[in-house]
């Protein structure tokens, strides 16, 4: 039984940059516990020595020439067109350092 604690839910929320309300923490604790209970069945698969699959059609590293593809390039104006806050052609982000 994979019982998730309140602290684990808060930890995961922090890692994923989700600010959770108290009521959400309680709700997700119960729901995630039930889902991981079910998921735990994968432990029964005999996977010793089995490689992991992350690409299903046999494509491995794909390279291309290091050149600019102009037809998919956005202009500065286009790139900024969706931003709520801009400053002199830059995106404005929240301050990272404390004063």
């Amino acid at each position: 039984m994979s019982k998730l604690t309140k602290a684990q839910v808060l930890h995961v929320g922090k890692l994923a940059k989700l600010s959770l309300k108290q009521s959400e923490v309680e709700k997700f604790k119960v729901q995630l516990t039930s889902i991981f209970d079910y998921v735990d069945s994968i432990a029964k698969m005999k996977t010793q020595g089995v490689p992991e699959t992350n690409q299903v059609t046999g494509i491995t590293n794909r390279f291309r020439k290091d050149e600019i593809i102009r037809d998919t390039m956005l202009s500065q104006k286009e790139a900024l067109s969706g931003a709520k806050k801009t400053y002199k052609g830059y995106f404005v982000i929240k301050a990272i350092f404390d004063k």
Partner: protein, 467 residues
């Protein structure tokens, strides 16, 4: 005759014979949308300007243009980027997002002359099997008021079933095209992984996302796939496999050896399995051979998928920070938060071996099992959903119960095999689908066998009574 009820094939013939114009067709579709969409909720954005574009297409046709989809109105799932047209992914996070470029599928459709009549509703970000996890009004099943359409391509399926458009695009990460197609009496296609470019579609689980179609018939699906398939340098996981003329391929004689896995019938609603068995006997009568097979790892497919998919979701949704476009992460709905958290936990230090890595190894075993089966058979067949369409709200309260809707569709996403849902007889008044899964890049086989069912049952002639 109502021209909106015609299939793509019939519309193309009528356009060629000048019996109808694109303008008339688009106008008739818009009229239908205006009358019924308020109850169906299949569109998030409707484009009235499509009629002007249709007039231009009609002029082009007069001049002799042979573009394969000239003047045909399409619904585009709202997670496919469309230049200059709002793209929300059915989430408030992207309530005001106007893309600067088109997804490859959309630009291929446009080059083929297709028109965009609107952007269709979905379970936000593709997260769901019912169409209920949307911030833009739950989609109603055109065949059954108050019942789910299936998801996540809920709006695309409902719009095609309701004759609001001729065909629609959909993304299938764990069954999102086949499921709503099954509940809405239309054809849902998930091509092979890498067959159609993923570029410009808001990523859900990058290793299982497949761009496909919701259409009225198998012919329509095969015809449009030839337009949208192919290698794209903008998607490094798309593959350089030649794109055949699927319609031509489909009409070549072919008798298949069809594997019927017993695991696909474990715990299935008895009415659903009865209809699927009827479809299998139709195929047998038409000269296909049925072979009982066993795929024991299918029992693990859903839990493997739950880990792989949510892990990739948590990574893909990390980019939504409200800085470059859209709103902040506080706008995520419950379902997205839940999946992000399941994935983050599965990938986190101390749990990655137990969940993520174990799931990735299990995925290898599942693929091997399918590949071994394909040495003896040409196709795999079974149901799409384990039960008929359910009422709104019935499964929403218990996420695990909802997730288990996907048990029969996720195997093909994990293995990357192409799969299709073809309509079969209704179960107590509710549409039902029949699923075929083929080896990599063997879409033609599914079209051929699917066509045999379609020609026998002709379910596309059964239309919903809208309200």
């Amino acid at each position: 005759m109502d021209i909106t009820s015609l299939t793509l094939k019939e519309i193309k013939e009528a356009l060629d014979k000048k019996d109808i114009s694109s303008y008339e067709l688009c106008l008739a579709c818009l009229k239908r949308i205006k009358k019924f969409n308020k109850n169906i909720h299949s569109f998030i954005t409707v484009r009235e300007e499509v009629v002007k574009e249709a007039k231009i297409a009609d002029v082009e046709r007069k001049k002799g243009s042979k573009k394969p989809l000239l003047g045909i109105p399409f619904g585009i799932k709202d997670n496919f980027l469309t230049k200059g047209i709002k793209t929300t992914s059915a989430s408030h996070v992207l309530s005001d997002y106007i893309p600067q470029y088109d997804s490859t599928v959309v630009s291929k459709l446009k080059s083929a002359g297709a028109l965009i009549i609107g952007k269709t509703n979905l379970d936000a970000w593709g997260h769901g099997s019912s169409g209920e996890h949307t911030d833009y009004g739950v989609t109603n099943n055109p065949y059954a008021k108050g019942y789910v359409t299936g998801g996540s391509s809920s709006g695309s399926a409902a719009a095609v079933a309701a004759d609001f458009c001729v065909a629609a695009t959909g993304s299938d990460t764990g069954g999102s095209n086949r499921q709503p197609a099954s509940y809405c009496n239309i054809v849902g296609l998930k091509p092979s992984y890498g067959r159609v470019s993923r570029y410009g579609v808001i990523a859900m689980a990058s290793s299982t996302d497949c761009m496909g179609l919701l259409t009225k018939t198998v012919w329509d699906s095969a015809y449009i796939l030839s337009v949208i398939a192919g290698y794209d340098r903008l998607d490094s996981t798309s593959k350089e496999v030649p794109v055949p003329d699927y319609v031509q391929e489909m009409n070549k004689p072919f008798k298949a050896k069809i594997g019927v896995p017993k695991e696909f019938f474990d715990g299935i609603d008895s009415h659903v399995s009865k209809k699927v068995e009827n479809a299998l006997s139709i195929l047998e009568k038409k000269g296909h051979k049925l072979v009982s097979i066993s795929l024991p790892y299918v029992a693990y497919a859903y839990p493997i998928y739950a880990v792989v998919q949510t892990s990739e979701v948590s990574a893909n949704l990390a980019r939504f920070d409200g800085i470059r476009y859209g709103n902040g992460r506080e706008y995520f709905g419950d379902e997205a938060k839940r999946r992000i958290m399941i994935g983050t936990h599965s990938l986190s230090s101390g749990y990655a071996d137990k969940y993520y890595k174990q799931a990735m190894k299990g995925r290898t075993l599942l693929i091997k099992e399918f590949e071994k089966a394909y040495k003896k058979i040409d196709l795999i067949a079974g149901p799409v959903y384990p039960f008929p369409a359910f009422k709104h709200g019935e499964r929403e309260t218990d996420p695990l119960k909802m997730y288990l809707s996907d048990v029969l569709t996720v195997p093909a996403n994990l293995t990357g095999h192409p799969s299709i849902s073809v309509p079969i007889e209704f179960v107590n008044g509710f549409p039902t689908g029949f699923q075929l899964i083929a080896p990599h890049f063997s879409e033609s086989r599914m079209f051929k066998v699917g066509l045999d069912i379609e020609q026998e049952l002709q379910m596309y002639k059964v239309k919903p009574k809208l309200w």
